[in-house]
Symmetry: C2
Subunit: 330 residues, 2 copies
């Protein structure tokens, strides 16, 4: 392991996985952490999750750190097939931060919480001297309650299952990147940040047929596929021509030499479902505001590899992100 913590240790790829396993999982040493789920499952039916948000800039096309902080935890709390109910919100604010900006952020949080039907029930406020934090960081933790018959886990995928995604890939990552680097695109790129609890609730009507739900945030769709492959001990094959991607995001990625499968998404879910229910799951997502562009993108096999059938008819290994993309993307 490195001597010093590097930016890539926070990038949601292999470097972060290594740091978590070697430093944190070892010390905290319990089955919840080793399970590497989006949320821990407690008392048999309560989900608990936490995330800190250090996005830069604070305000980006399609959202801000406040909306992101609520949606990110609402989504993680939902990903075990649960209805999110309560959030905590802890703020670390730089001395001199404009109260008007704080009010805007808090307003976004309140609106997102209202849309998601969750209550922010506890909080904390720390202020540090100028220069000790870059403007403001927010942590949110969340509690959800499992839906009847939910059995959703990263280790549930089986060969033959079908893989879907709820919409276009890479929007958030590219939106923040373009805001950060002040890139101009013909069609502006907006973050997809959104609360997915409503979409998840509908999907969960399929009960146990829903095997895996994972929001592809840092490390993107590629990292999620690798996590499913690793934790379920399976292979996954995806079809390039089936991947929903906005033209603007695709061309920006080609221009910048980035694999859109590595870009963070903040309003998407990767779904692994029993083959017989795949069409039903697709239909359910397409009928929801946040699933209009849903697609079946691949299937689970026993190859232990994550591969992609390219538009040229060849098949290759999907690169797994190491965490080298832009830091502070969420």
């Amino acid at each position: 392991l490195m001597e010093r913590v590097l930016l890539s240790h926070g990038g949601g790829g292999t470097m972060m996985e290594k740091l978590i396993e070697e430093v944190f999982a070892d010390a905290f040493d319990n089955e919840y952490i080793r399970a590497m789920e989006d949320a821990a499952l407690l008392f048999g039916n309560i989900t608990l999750t936490t995330d800190s948000f250090t996005v830069k800039p604070l305000f980006f096309p399609g959202g801000d750190i406040g909306k992101l902080a609520v949606c990110g935890t609402v989504n993680d709390a939902s990903m075990r097939g649960a209805k999110p109910l309560f959030l905590t919100a802890a703020f670390i604010i730089e001395e001199g931060f404009p109260v008007e900006d704080l009010k805007k952020i808090v307003k976004s949080m309140a609106e997102a919480a209202k849309e998601a039907g969750v209550k922010i029930v506890a909080g904390d406020t720390k202020v540090v001297e100028k220069g000790s934090v870059d403007r403001i960081f927010i942590n949110t933790s969340g509690i959800g309650v499992l839906y009847e018959g939910a059995n959703v886990s990263i280790k549930n995928a089986k060969p033959g299952d079908i893989v879907l995604i709820s919409g276009t890939i890479g929007d958030h990552g590219m939106a923040v990147m373009s805001a950060r680097e002040e890139l101009q695109f013909d069609t502006p790129i907006f973050s997809d940040v959104a609360p997915l609890n409503g979409l998840i609730e509908k999907l969960m009507t399929l009960g146990e047929a829903i095997k895996v739900l994972r929001d592809p945030t840092r490390g993107g769709v590629a990292e999620v596929l690798y996590e499913i492959s690793k934790m379920s001990g399976v292979g996954i094959k995806i079809y390039e021509e089936k991947l929903p991607v906005k033209e603007s995001v695709k061309s920006a990625c080609e221009f910048m030499g980035i694999d859109f499968l590595h870009l963070a998404n903040e309003g998407k879910v990767v779904v692994v479902v029993e083959r017989d229910y795949a069409e039903k799951a697709l239909e359910i997502m397409k009928s929801h505001e946040y699933g209009k562009d849903a697609e079946i993108i691949g299937e689970v096999n026993d190859s232990k590899l994550v591969t992609i059938n390219t538009i040229y008819g060849t098949s290759r290994i999907v690169d797994r992100p190491i965490g080298e993309l832009l830091p502070r993307i969420c």
Copy 2:
């Protein structure tokens, strides 16, 4: 309200109360936040709390940010008369932070969690570029389960109730201050940071007689007395000669012109108990490792004021902290 967030808005006194009420409580607008409790009470018996830790220096006499991050949330999760069970731990780490220091901090967290009998079941790891965070900040959130017959709330104090404290006042605040300012004292001052769940469990054998439990962290004992006075609509009188304070802390405070009642404590609890059970509560605390120096320090009355009977036989109002003491004390 100010145009900009000031250090005092994070000081645990009147300025922070104002910011929380005018910016956060207004927007989040629910009874949990307005209740201003140490932890929200959910589903009738589950407590949820959150705190971020920005202490400077990271390592101080008697503890470090890791032990503090676990104990602070274990204590808040206990303060509604609950047994803490599960914690989340989210790290925001500066690029270049030494992995050895991270391992030391994580080891302290694991040890404190083990002592408190809690499991750290979910986490998050963000790394930000050099200069965007001062080394490392940690957020912990915690879940507890109420003890049988617990009815502990900041609004429960009634005239005639007795006020106790579990031990010497001001240790943590002075320990961190002395480490920060590199002050030398004849006898070194150590933080009192400790998990109080065991002490609370014993106290809760008195059931409903335990009216209020509050850990006097930022803003110290003075702030807690004011919060109880405000939320219970009562007055509180304390006796100066009964206040347990280490000589070293007392003389340091006199030297620096600080009221030790404003200093943060990270291993103490202020208890309000029915008069008839005061001696029993004192006995219970004195029999516990973290309550050896417990004392009865005052009583609740209907004056709506927080006053102190001084050693000179006079009575005066206790100054309420505005949040002006050293920032980043916890």
